[in-house]
């Protein structure tokens, strides 16, 4: 299977490991992603007023380009991109007059018919590949790994765009359990990490991340598993200092480890593998870390 791929800016800057891991696990599952030859930033946040149409140009342009490139579907790894593109798509379908108005002022490059489709990688894994097929491909079950799946906001809300039940999601739990991991949960899984407040109110992010990490630790988690590159940045860099930070993994990296792939191919360095090993005396992870022989 081959699918068009919309990376989004952050995947190319601070979340390259998520892309590497995604491409590696998809290769194992027989799926190839083709990056769109030309693309632009989606705009990250959906504009919430009807009077700020210029802010819809970026996501609509991505969708228009997808169609101009002869594609119907595009896969994205980023929760923010997914959310923003899916909502712009909804706008294009329900208010095509707005797209026409934008197109008329922009030289014709925004001629979009609403026929594109944006898939989150988790859609692809859950609905097309299927968790059963993922389970079958597992070579090194993550038996001793206790994970706390963190959903954040944009994977779940609003209803109609989100991938799962906004209050009681099970998607990441099901996925992690199919890898053999033990899942612990808590009320903060679906609460915002502070998102872009990292720019000018980082203290609020640290407070939210700290509370979530504490809940995960109290539940016995050895790692946080998440999907969004912005959540990842916040959890990885703004975790309050109290001993060793709780390791943060993209779900793609967890899948790759369970598939028995080389941690380096998943963007996991020796330090991260060591941290994971410390968090969980898992034989499988231990083996992987030593198979690389890099921690010496």
């Amino acid at each position: 299977m081959q699918l068009a791929y919309y990376p989004g800016c952050t995947i190319k800057v601070s979340a390259r490991e998520h892309e590497r891991a995604a491409l590696a696990i998809l290769r194992e599952l027989g799926i190839a992603l083709r990056e769109m030859p030309e693309w632009n930033c989606c705009g990250v946040v959906h504009t919430l007023t009807g009077e700020n149409l210029i802010r819809q140009m970026a996501p609509l342009r991505v969708l228009a380009r997808l169609r101009q490139q002869g594609e119907r579907e595009a896969v994205t790894l980023c929760d923010m991109c997914f959310n923003t593109l899916a909502r712009a798509n909804h706008l294009a379908r329900t208010q095509p007059d707005q797209v026409s108005a934008l197109n008329a002022t922009s030289g014709g490059g925004l001629d979009y018919d609403g026929a594109g489709e944006v898939l989150h990688l988790l859609h692809l894994l859950r609905d097309r590949v299927g968790l059963a097929a993922i389970r079958k491909r597992v070579r090194r079950p993550l038996r001793d790994l206790v994970v706390y799946p963190y959903y954040g906001c944009k994977l779940l809300r609003p209803t109609g765009i989100g991938l799962d039940d906004p209050e009681m999601p099970t998607l990441l739990r099901d996925l992690m359990e199919s890898l053999g991991a033990t899942v612990v949960e808590g009320s903060l899984q679906t609460q915002c990490c502070g998102a872009y407040l990292a720019v000018d109110r980082a203290g609020l992010v640290t407070e939210r991340v700290g509370a979530t990490v504490e809940q995960a630790r109290d539940a016995g988690a050895g790692a946080i598993v998440l999907s969004c590159p912005l959540c990842h940045f916040n959890f990885a860099t703004l975790q309050p200092h109290a001993g060793a930070p709780l390791p943060v993994l993209y779900y793609t990296q967890a899948i790759g480890l369970a598939f028995g792939l080389d941690p380096a191919e998943l963007g996991l360095d020796d330090r991260q593998m060591e941290a994971l090993g410390r968090a969980v005396p898992s034989q499988a992870l231990h083996d992987l870390a030593h198979a690389r022989g890099g921690s010496a």
């Binding site: 632009n40 930033c41 970026a58 922009s106």
Partner: protein
């Protein structure tokens, strides 16, 4: 040029002038009696000093052009825009380590790009300006350098941008970083430079310099260009992003010698 020129009406800064058709905008402005000391430069489309904003009859759009490269049209309503302020934080190229966020560090306002494409539509060089700003946002310095390669820094893009982005300065920094840090070193160039420094071509050059102009011209006209097929080096990013350049004929320049 020998035919009698018809006159067209040009509106310059709100005032009408009758000027001969067939003139460039620059020549038409001078014909109208203006002496340009700023907003004019090479007159060859390379220096970027003479951007023009104009409207034409039958359209509500603002069009852009280089005054030295565009013929005046009947009904053209225009103004010269010789300078667009694009101040840049000072940087020391030697102190920069290229990172995906390097361009954002010097130009955070590119994060405000709304992908409206106004810059691309305004570029008199026909460059995909918005695409290189988007490449800058995602840290693809090589792509920025390549897509902005033919930028002449006229500044029209920056004057039209709703996000107040300093496009040409972004492209310039990207090309500088690309040239200093990212372009693969050329082994052929190093070999050739050391041969020149060792004096291997001194005799040959002296011979050429002593040739009479007629002989030199004959040699020039018989010169060969390497064909594209011979230039198949896969490390050339320029070739990957741009079609091979047409050989330029320097006949005009020689005539003036």
């Amino acid at each position: 040029m020998s035919e009698p020129a018809t006159l067209v009406t040009m509106e310059l800064m709100g005032k009408e002038y009758r000027v001969p058709s067939g003139l460039t905008i620059l020549a038409a402005i001078e014909y109208a009696g203006y002496k340009l000391v700023r907003g004019v430069g090479c007159r060859g489309g390379f220096c970027g000093a003479c951007p023009t904003l104009y409207r034409r009859e039958g359209s509500h759009r603002i069009f852009t052009a280089l005054a030295c490269q565009t013929l005046v049209e009947d009904g053209m309503c225009l103004v010269q825009m010789p300078f667009v302020p694009v101040p840049t934080k000072p940087y020391d190229l030697h102190g920069i380590t290229p990172q995906p966020t390097t361009l954002l560090r010097f130009f955070p306002e590119i994060a405000g790009c709304v992908a409206c494409n106004t810059c691309t539509r305004a570029c008199p060089q026909g460059l995909p300006v918005m695409d290189y700003i988007q490449a800058a946002l995602r840290g693809d310095i090589e792509r920025v350098a390549m897509l902005s390669f033919d930028c002449i820094a006229c500044g029209i893009c920056s004057s039209r941008c709703p996000a107040d982005i300093k496009h040409y300065a972004v492209g310039l920094l990207a090309r500088r970083i690309y040239g200093k840090y990212l372009v693969p070193p050329s082994e052929d160039l190093a070999v050739r430079v050391s041969a020149i420094e060792a004096g291997r071509y001194d005799a040959e050059l002296r011979k050429l310099m002593e040739l009479p102009l007629a002989d030199l011209r004959a040699r020039y006209e018989q010169r060969n260009f390497e064909t594209v097929a011979e230039q198949h080096r896969d490390h050339s990013a320029t070739q990957r992003y741009n079609s091979p350049m047409d050989p330029v004929d320097y006949q005009d320049e020689l005539e003036g010698v």
